[in-house]
Symmetry: C2
Subunit: 587 residues, 2 copies
């Protein structure tokens, strides 16, 4: 209990902060009316007529007739997808009116376990962005098919759930649940007993599979793609997190449960899942989602509910966050109305952090804990020889099983190709868009290298490499020749993580991610520039993929059909097995 | 986690129960459509197309095109107000479609502390009515002004909150909170830390007082009387429990937040608070509330939401109860639609308990735990002499401060009267409607007797007595002569609790409440008959009060203005002090 806010609400003492002359967007009553908001001790003390709370020491913010909304809540976002440090990430989101997120920091866990996640949560706690922790349920994704730095089991999950900021388990993968993986079931059981929620990851799940997940206690899903899936989820009492992020934009179809089916919207919210640096810099975050929702025909207050109280309710946190009401965190946005929605000023926990679009007090440079640094341990440099796939013949040709990415989503399909052999090593064929791809284990455990062939990227020279590689974050690289692939990998290792574009032994563009090999220490603007250069240089090398590094990072994910590359080799996803990419020697 | 329901949802094994050919009232999506519901292990496995769950062993209930709603939830009810045993109470509510209640069993706590409450919860657990426990926050109501059997402090509350069925603290009395009573603040703080909710009791509270209660963490209130109060609560993010019970019917005014203000109804539910035996027998429970809501212009699905999912959400229990969705308790009502709403059949936790209005398996007679019995300890019989108020004169007249109840609500106002003195004792004056009233401590602690004068009941002969006397449940009695008052008190003591109407040393009507002096062991029908006789006989004695025993039981409550009688004496409520009813000797 916060005696300070109680004393202000009762009129005993005066408020710390008062926002006056606003239009209250009341997401509880679904009304808009004139009024102010008083805050104390980071909590809202009064809303509406707040005259009695204002004293000579009260900081006054005049909203000048603008709208006051609750701070926005993203119920499912992976901060690592921005590659920003926690401070830059917080600053970026706050600038767009997001004051609360629910996150699993799963990627940090993959690199260095719960210790790394807790270190990042500590860094975030020093910012004005409130993070609720949703404990990752599977680190790594496929223990038998990839090597990660951190490993979670139910005992670690149980320990993590005891954190006061822990609100549930994240990304409960439907097939694991449907197959009754004992350690997952144990973790879910523990979570339910501790009163924590089970957050689903239920792509392409419907009918009895959906029933099974919900019967087991899962209460949300963020993987619905179609209107039909959305309708089924709401009808089934499953909170529908409508994804509108950088990696997938599904709101247009999903929002029809509200605009066409006229369903109760209480069980719906908007989340981003993955948000990329450039999108954050150029479009925004949930403010952009509100604009999108409005353009799709959602009324203004409902749109605001979708990123505030509804998300709070999905986590049983509506008594703490998500509305402009006494007792809630004093998260307040000063915004335009529905005509041209934009966030002007932002108050987080009673502190003015953004005024007229300007972030007031940028966070000081942070000293990272040692567990976040030096995450790349590779005892020796990679050579072209390390990366070659030996054939059973010295020269001639072999038929290989390659994988080809679709050009709009990083889903791969199989493609057979005939490739030449030189000196016993299978050569790629850039003219035919068949490139080398490899992943090297980077945690100093064994240095395994998986090797295969990749189509769809259309590089005509050079190579790309990245230490961001779902869901193991080993170093993944792809290129037109093994020398450049090796050079790119070594450069990423030298940077202690990052992303690079190289050609003929020269770095064309690079971004360093010294934090876990995942996060930069640059500002949003600086990193945006580097990211654009990475894309530009990749384009100049011939690639036609719109987000080549995002695509590359997903080629390592043994969860997405049909093929993947990990440090353990070339993975056939449907059978969850490592296969030999060389099929046979041909004439 | 319930493996049985998971296996049924997934199709591995067949359902225990299937309701087929229904119209699903979906309170999540706000739709009605044809479908069935499958249940296993007490939990819903599938809704809609449930064909795959039905096997040869599955019990089939054919809804024959009737509507299927979730079981009803009363978020605030005191079972003791029915004076029924837990089994008869459960049977009564279940028959009307209520499958879940939230309750503090406060009255049981007043008589014999947490032990008695836990014994009643145990009795309830053997029925099909699910009770969530909301821990009483003040037992007794006014420790300095009354003597109770049980006493709660924050350490007992903290212990009680650790029960797995405990979901919050009940009846947080606004003035106690506003005055910062340390033990209450401590209990609230403990509850918040344990993730439990704070349920308010906020009559006549608005503006900064309401802000203060909410800033302290209170999230619900059931005491709003006017539309204006209702509007303020919803706007302030306070869940509005709209009371429509036997002691107060406020829905007509409160529901205007939905029907006239068109507010979001998610923060609204209907509760009964106090429900009387005769109302339960003759009108019903929340089924009657739905009929009332419909008659007031609420649409059908919203009306159902008000007694199902909204109540579940108020307690953060919507993942367990309140909707027809996989993973929720299989509480299903088969009902008529909006035209003439009635509950026909009831399934609770997957068990058919009511079929076509008939309760299928009445509960066996219960053996109560010793802590529930023999709660009246009075070492000696009360005599008329014990009850007389001595004057300072032997004969003549005195002016007294009497209290008069309003005739529609048991609120008292002061009334001065001149009464004769005989043999040094002040005599009442039934012709002028000034009666004796007294309360005797019944827990064997000291046997104190409080004495005063009562107007408004209009008894012309005899006396009434009751061991139900909020909020201490001592024996309260009122009558036209001290002999009958003493006789009535002694008869209640002989019964080990109950309510009696007597005249000239004869019992005219009585009901025994052997359980804590609060609850009968009779069936709903039997007790209804006795209750009617109690009222009839009281009417024959001249009383014009519609519910004389309910009114009498509230005259002992030191919380309701302006006067009360307790074992400590005649209480002036605004000053919370005991005063002398005799003002002066007059000519």
């Amino acid at each position: 209990m916060n005696q300070h806010v109680i004393d202000v609400a009762s009129g005993k003492i005066k408020a710390d902060l008062a926002v006056i002359n606003g239009k209250i967007v009341n997401v509880c009553s679904k009304e808009v009316y004139d009024g102010g908001i008083a805050a104390a001790g980071g909590i809202i003390a009064a809303v509406g007529d707040i005259e009695y709370t204002i004293g000579p020491e009260t900081k006054i913010i005049d909203a000048k007739g603008k709208y006051l909304t609750p701070g926005f809540i993203d119920g499912h976002i992976h901060p690592e997808s921005t590659n920003l440090s926690m401070t830059a990430f917080a600053q970026g989101l706050l600038t767009h009116g997001t004051t609360v997120i629910m996150t699993d920091l799963h990627e940090a866990g993959v690199v260095n376990g719960l210790e790394a996640i807790e270190a990042l949560l500590d860094e975030a706690a020093a910012t004005d962005l409130k993070m609720y922790f949703v404990v990752p349920s599977h680190v790594p994704f496929a223990p038998n098919l990839e090597t990660s730095g951190g490993v979670f089991d139910s005992s670690i999950i149980s320990k993590a759930l005891d954190r006061p900021d822990a609100v549930g388990i994240s990304e409960i993968v439907a097939p694991y649940l449907l197959n009754g993986y004992p350690d997952l079931m144990e973790a879910m059981d523990v979570a339910l007993k501790k009163g924590k929620s089970l957050q689903g990851h239920l792509p392409d799940i419907s009918g009895k599979d959906l029933n099974t997940c919900l019967a087991a206690g899962v209460t949300t899903d963020h993987e619905a793609l179609s209107t039909e899936e959305a309708v089924e989820r709401v009808r089934s009492g499953c909170h529908l997190m409508m994804r509108e992020g950088s990696a997938a934009r599904n709101l247009k179809d999903l929002v029809k449960v509200i605009t066409e089916y006229k369903m109760d919207s209480t069980l719906c919210s908007i989340i981003t899942d993955d948000l990329h640096t450039i999108d954050l810099a150029e479009k925004g975050h949930l403010d952009e989602s509100i604009r999108t929702a409005l353009s799709l025909g959602v009324d203004f207050i409902t749109a605001v509910q979708l990123v505030t109280i509804n998300a709070a309710r999905a986590f049983h946190l509506d008594h703490e966050i998500g509305s402009l009401a006494p007792g809630r965190r004093a998260d307040i946005n000063i915004t335009d109305g529905p005509e041209s929605f934009a966030v002007h000023s932002v108050i987080s926990a009673g502190r003015e952090v953004v005024r007229d679009g300007t972030f007031l007090n940028p966070y000081p440079e942070i000293r990272h804990k040692p567990c976040l640094l030096n995450s790349v341990t590779m005892p020796k440099k990679i050579t072209a020889e390390d990366l070659g796939l030996p054939a059973e013949c010295e020269t001639g040709n072999v038929k290989v099983q390659a994988m080809r990415t679709l050009d709009w989503i990083p889903i791969t399909i199989g493609e057979e190709a005939v490739l030449p052999v030189r000196g016993g090593i299978v050569q790629c064929n850039p003219e035919a868009d068949i490139l080398h791809i490899a992943q090297v284990e980077r945690y100093g455990k064994h240095g395994n290298i998986g090797k295969a062939f990749m189509a769809g990227f259309n590089l005509k020279g050079g190579a790309l490499a990245s230490s961001v590689a779902h869901d193991n974050h080993n170093i993944i690289a792809m290129g037109t020749n093994l020398d450049d692939v090796a050079f790119a990998m070594n450069r990423v290792a030298e940077l202690q993580g990052g992303q690079v574009v190289v050609k003929n032994g020269q770095v064309l563009a690079e971004a360093a991610y010294p934090v876990l090999g995942l996060l930069s220490d640059l500002s949003l603007e600086e990193l945006t520039d580097l990211k654009k250069k990475l894309i530009d240089e990749t384009r100049k090398l011939g690639s036609t993929i719109p987000a080549p590094f995002m695509f590359l990072s997903f080629i390592g994910l043994a969860a997405i059909p049909e093929y993947a590359i990990t440090d353990q080799g070339f993975v056939h996803v449907p059978t969850q097995s490592v296969i030999n990419p060389i099929l046979e020697v041909v004439a």
